[in-house]
């Protein structure tokens, strides 16, 4: 799941340039679009401090450069500062990806001292009540306070706003709030429909009119702000005719380590059945990256079927997202149905159309909580 606007001008040459450590699945929030697995509570066996440090050393030796500390909420790991320090000594560019809950002045100072380079903070709305209801907790005030502390400590800051039907019409207000805080990069990250977000897709998908309005607001802000704030806004792939170049290709530059040590080609990859994800506890990272079957499963283009195989654009988008292909068509080697050339493109078109029907019955949103999907999952197949 690449970030909107991710810039990577390195000829990666199969180096895991981009390393994401999901330090824990624990989180004080209950966001209903969380990309953690639906059964996240089954993965409790978190790596120890020393195990994470070994991962950092092995990855750096392979040439990893960009490092994201993610989760869950990484601040729930008390060894976060220690891991940041180790990563900085090894030469990573360290990013903290946080909800802001628990980001005290003391911890910010400690991470600054440890060498943390930048912080990506999530915010769901410019409105307190909407934010708190979307994340299932009283979070707005804490997030805003965290944003101001981050800037007062001089960190470059990305404000990440997951965009859905419920907040897209506040784009203008969110832009103003970000400008007032002094955000360096504002990323409108349209929710991508995996895991919890897929369960709630019909309630979260915005309409085409909403997207057009938000894009216009972004264009006006870019005109006004120039280089003071970089704004990313990429329309959700469901509204596109071509798929996203997911992860810049499977096993190309991106490596995620889950809390239990499983190595994943992307955060969502566990949704694809039949794949075995080796653990850093059992095998050297270099073997996992270069040799393990799962990292080679969709590398290159030998796995492709038509229409991808003969498509002149296959070098640009790699057939889209394997997880999305599986979740929507039942086969991870199919063309991502976002592509208009996919014989199953109608699945995406229908989902967009269905979500936009005026006056349709709304479904309750399933929040990210332990066991909350056991009964709900069956009813949300579409």
């Amino acid at each position: 799941m690449p970030k909107a606007g991710s810039g990577l001008s390195l000829d990666g040459d199969r180096i895991p340039m981009w390393l994401v450590l999901e330090l824990t699945y624990r989180c004080p929030l209950h966001c209903a679009w969380c990309n953690n697995p639906l059964d996240f509570d089954n993965y409790r066996n978190e790596l120890s401090t020393e195990e994470w440090k070994r991962v950092l050393r092995e990855a750096r030796a392979m040439g990893s450069l960009q490092l994201g500390f993610s989760g869950g909420e990484p601040l729930l790991r008390e060894d976060l500062e220690e891991l940041v320090g180790e990563a900085d000594r090894l030469g990573f560019y360290t990013n903290l990806i946080t909800s802001g809950i628990g980001l005290s002045r003391e911890r910010l100072q400690a991470m600054k001292a440890a060498g943390l380079k930048q912080i990506q903070l999530s915010l769901q709305s410019s409105d307190r009540a909407i934010t708190d209801s979307l994340v299932g907790a009283k979070a707005f005030d804490a997030k805003l306070a965290a944003a101001r502390e981050i800037k007062s400590h001089g960190f470059p800051m990305v404000l990440n706003v997951p965009i859905c039907r419920q907040n897209i019409e506040q784009t203008e207000d969110i832009l103003k709030l970000a400008e007032e805080i002094g955000v360096d990069y504002l990323e409108f990250a349209n929710i991508q429909y995996y895991n919890w977000a897929l369960l709630n897709r019909s309630e979260f998908l915005p309409t085409r009119d909403q997207i057009a309005m938000a894009e216009a607001a972004v264009a006006r802000a870019r005109e006004r702000l120039g280089k003071r704030m970089t704004i990313y806004f990429v329309i959700p792939d469901y509204f596109d005719e071509r798929p996203k170049a997911c992860m810049n290709g499977w096993g190309a530059i991106h490596l995620t380590i889950a809390p239990d040590g499983s190595a994943l080609p992307c955060q969502e990859a566990r949704v694809i059945p039949g794949l075995e994800f080796p653990s850093v506890r059992d095998a050297p990272l270099a073997w996992i990256w270069h040799e393990s079957p799962v990292f080679n499963e969709f590398r290159g283009d030998a796995w492709m079927k038509e229409p991808c195989r003969s498509c002149p654009e296959k070098e640009q988008d790699f057939g889209g997202c394997r997880c999305q292909a599986y979740l929507l068509t039942g086969n991870a080697a199919n063309t991502d149905p976002v592509c208009a050339k996919s014989p199953e493109h109608h699945l995406v078109v229908d989902a967009v159309a269905e979500a936009a029907v005026p006056g349709r019955r709304r479904r309750p949103i399933v929040m990210r909580r332990r066991d909350s999907v056991n009964t709900m999952f069956m009813g949300c197949g579409g």
Binding site: G7, G63, G91, Y93, G154, K227
Partner: protein, 95 residues
Amino acid sequence: MTENNTVAAGDVPQLSPLYLLRWEEPQQAHVMLYPEGVVKLNETAAAILLLCDGQRTAAEIIADLNSRYTSADVSAGVYRFLETSHAKGWIRIKS
């Protein structure tokens, strides 16, 4: 971009605080690291950006490079690169 990105001889370019410029051994190249991105620099680009220290003027940067590279005068290329870097937000101009 609506802003003017031209760079004059007396301007003092400085690497933006959002960017970290350093040598990366596995790539055998200088890289610029920033939130969510990496740019690998060729030798010339790195040589110019390393001089964007907030002290030297553009003219002084050019003089420095001319003294090290014996080929033709580098000034046109350096101004072009500084203007591109400015447009990309890699450098800021102190006046």
